[in-house]
Amino acid sequence: MKLKTALASATILAACMFGSAQAADLTVGFSQIGSESGWRAAETTLTKQQAESRGIDLKFADAQQKQENQIKALRSFIAQGVDAILVAPVVATGWDDVLTEAKDAEIPVILLDRTVDSSEDLYMTAVTSDLVHEGNVAGKWLVDAVAGKPCNVVELQGTTGSSPAIDRKKGFEEALAGHDNLKIIRSQTGDFTRTKGKEVMESFLKAEDGGKNICALYAHNDDMAVGAIQAIKEAGLKPGTDILVVSIDAVPDIFQAMAAGEANATVELTPNMAGPAFDALAAFKKDGTLPPKWIQTESKLYTQKDDPMKVYEEKKGLGY
C-alpha cells in the first residue's frame, strides 16, 4: 500500500515537472475524420509535419468516419487539458454539447476544412477553402483559355447533393455567365470516382458525335478527370488538345497527366489547413488576438506552365 502511494505521488510529481517543462510549447488535439480519401491522408500528413516544425505536441485521433468517435476524442482532449483542439467535423450537426464543454474548459476549438451548424461563439475559427471560389477559378481559366471562341463544355459533377458538387458547379457557372461563347451542353454525376468518370465520359463522347462536338471538360475533382482522360484517349481523341481538361483538387496524378499534356489546369484544394490554424493559434496565445471566424485558404491555379513534374514529386510523398 505504502509503495503504491509512493509510486502514485512520484508519478504525479513527475507529471507536474514534465508539464511545467513543456509549458512553453503547445499541446494540440487533432480529431481527424478517418481515411476517406487520398486528400484527407495528405491533410493528416501535413498537419503532423506542421505541428512538428512548430514544436507543437500533436495528439492525433482517427474517428473512422464516426461522429461519436470524434465527440469521444474531443472529450478526452478536454479531460487531458490540451491547449487547443483541431477538428475536421464528419457531419455538420450535433456539436453543440461537446463544443460548449470545450468552451467551459476555455480550450479554443478550430474547425478544419468543414464547418458545423453550431453557434459561432462555440469555436474560435474555421479554416476552409471556398468551394464556390474553386469552381470560379476553374471557370475563369477556361474563359481565358478559349479567348472568345465558341466552346461546348461537358461537366462531370461530384456526388449528387454533396456540397462540393453543388458549390463547384455554382462557381463555374458564375464564371461562365456573360460569356455566351461557352455553353455547358451536358452535365452528369461521376460520383467523384475514376470508374464513373470514365464511364460517364464514354457516354458524353457517344452522345456528342464521337466527341467532335465537345471542346472542354470540367470535372469537379481530379480523379474523375483522370478517368475521363482515359475515355477520351480510347475514343481516339487527344485530351488536352482536342478536348481541354480542367478540374479541381490538385492531386499528384493530375500533375502527371498535365506533364504529359493530357490535362490543362487544376485548382488546388490545399491539404495544408493546419498551417493557418496554427498561425491563428500562435497569435491568440501570444497576445490574445482573435482570428476572424472564417480563414479562407488559397485556391491556387496550376497549369501546364507550372512545371507539373516538380509539383508531382513534391506531392507524391504526402500520402495522397
Partner: protein, 340 residues
C-alpha cells in the same frame, strides 16, 4: 433444336425485356444502335453496355450459383476491392503479370473459401457470414493500398481492362468466355442438378449421398473467383486500385441481375444465361440514363421505376392475372360462338 427449346422459353421474358429496354433507349437516342470499327475495335454504345456491364455480369455468374444453393454473397463488392488492390500492389512492387494475376485470383479463392467455411461448416446464415467480409473487406483493401489510389503502368495488366481481342474489349471477352465455361461445367455434368437439389432441400440431398458441404463451399469459392476477376478488370480499367470505390454496392446490382433473370432467392432451379441477361438489362438502363441527358438527380429514380416495372411484369400474381384475363376472353369467345 428440340433440346434447346426449353432453354429458349426460359430465357424469353428476359430477352424480351432487354430488347424492349434497348428499343426504348434507341427511340430517345437513335445512335444507341450505331456500331463502327475504330482503331481495330468495334465502337459504339452497345459495346459500352457489354463492357461496362462486365463486373456485374461476372459477379452475377457466381451469385447465381450461390443463390441456387439458397445462399447469398454480400461480400463480392469488397472482394473486388481486395483483389484489385492485391493486383495493383503486386504489379507495382515489380512482380510479373502471371504472378500478379495468380496471386489476385488466389486471394479471391481464399475469400470465397472463408465465406464457404462460415456457411457450410460453421452453419452461419449466409447473409450474416458474408456480411463479415463485406464490412471487413474494404478495410483490408485500404490497408493494402494504404488509403490511396494505387496506380500502375504495366501494359499487360492494363490490357485486361482496356485492350481488345477480335475487335471486342477484353472485359467482354472474359465474361462471355467465363460465363459459357461455368454454364458448360454445371450443365454438361451433374453438378447443376446437385446444386439445385442442395438449394431445394439440403438435408434431403445429404441423405441421398450428395456431399453438400463440399458443394456449398465450392459455390462460395466460385463466387470469390468471379469477384477476383471482376476486381482485376475494374482496377485495370482505370489503371489503379481504388479501395474506397471499386465494386462499391455492386453486390446489390449482382443480386438484382440474378433476380431480374428470373432466379428465385429461395434457391433451387437457376439459369446463368438469364442472370447475364439481367446484368445486361441493368447496364442498358444505366447507359441509357447517361445518354439521355437528364439531370443526375433523376438517375436513381428512373432506374428504380424501370426495375419495379420489370419485376412487376415477372411477378407470379401478374402472370396469374394475365392468364385469367386470357382465359376469360377465350371463354367469352366460346360463349359468343355458342350463341350463334
Amino acid at each position: 433444336m428440340n433440346a434447346l427449346k426449353p432453354h429458349l422459353i426460359r430465357l424469353a421474358p428476359q430477352f424480351a425485356v432487354l430488347v424492349a429496354v434497348v428499343l426504348l433507349i434507341s427511340l430517345a437516342f437513335p445512335d444507341f444502335l450505331k456500331l463502327q470499327i475504330q482503331n481495330g475495335r468495334v465502337y459504339g454504345s452497345l459495346v459500352d453496355v457489354l463492357n461496362r456491364g462486365a463486373p456485374v455480369a461476372l459477379l452475377a455468374i457466381g451469385m447465381t450459383i450461390v443463390i441456387a444453393t439458397r445462399g447469398i454473397d454480400l461480400s463480392v463488392g469488397a472482394v473486388m476491392a481486395i483483389c484489385g488492390a492485391v493486383a495493383a500492389a503486386s504489379i507495382t512492387s515489380g512482380h510479373s503479370l502471371v504472378y500478379t494475376l495468380a496471386l489476385a485470383l488466389a486471394v479471391g479463392l481464399l475469400c470465397g473459401l472463408w465465406n464457404g467455411i462460415l456457411v457450410a461448416v460453421l452453419d452461419i446464415q449466409p447473409i450474416i457470414a458474408t456480411l463479415v467480409l463485406m464490412v471487413a473487406g474494404r478495410g483490408i483493401a485500404q490497408l493494402i493500398t494504404e488509403g490511396a489510389i494505387l496506380t500502375f503502368n504495366d501494359p499487360g495488366l492494363i490490357f485486361i481492362g482496356s485492350g481488345s481481342f477480335l475487335g471486342l474489349p477484353m472485359p467482354v471477352v472474359i465474361w462471355l468466355v467465363f460465363g459459357i465455361a461455368v454454364t458448360l461445367l454445371v450443365r454438361r455434368t451433374a453438378l447443376g442438378m446437385l446444386i439445385e437439389a442442395l438449394g431445394i432441400n439440403r438435408r434431403a440431398s445429404t441423405l441421398s449421398g450428395v456431399s453438400t458441404g463440399v458443394l456449398l463451399v465450392a459455390a462460395y469459392v466460385l463466387s470469390g473467383l468471379c469477384a477476383a476477376i471482376a476486381g482485376i478488370i475494374a482496377a485495370a480499367d482505370i489503371k489503379g486500385a481504388d479501395a474506397n470505390n471499386a465494386g462499391l454496392w455492386l453486390e446489390l446490382d449482382a443480386i438484382l441481375a440474378v433476380v431480374v433473370g428470373g432466379n428465385s432467392l429461395l434457391g433451387g432451379r437457376f439459369s446463368i444465361a438469364a442472370a447475364l441477361l439481367g446484368a445486361l438489362i441493368i447496364q442498358s438502363i444505366n447507359t441509357g440514363i447517361l445518354l439521355s441527358g437528364f439531370p443526375p438527380e433523376f438517375n436513381l429514380i428512373i432506374k428504380a421505376a424501370i426495375i419495379v416495372l420489370i419485376l412487376v411484369i415477372q411477378s407470379p400474381r401478374i402472370r396469374d392475372l394475365a392468364a385469367l384475363f386470357g382465359r376469360s376472353e377465350s371463354a367469352e369467345a366460346t360463349v359468343k360462338q355458342e350463341a350463334k
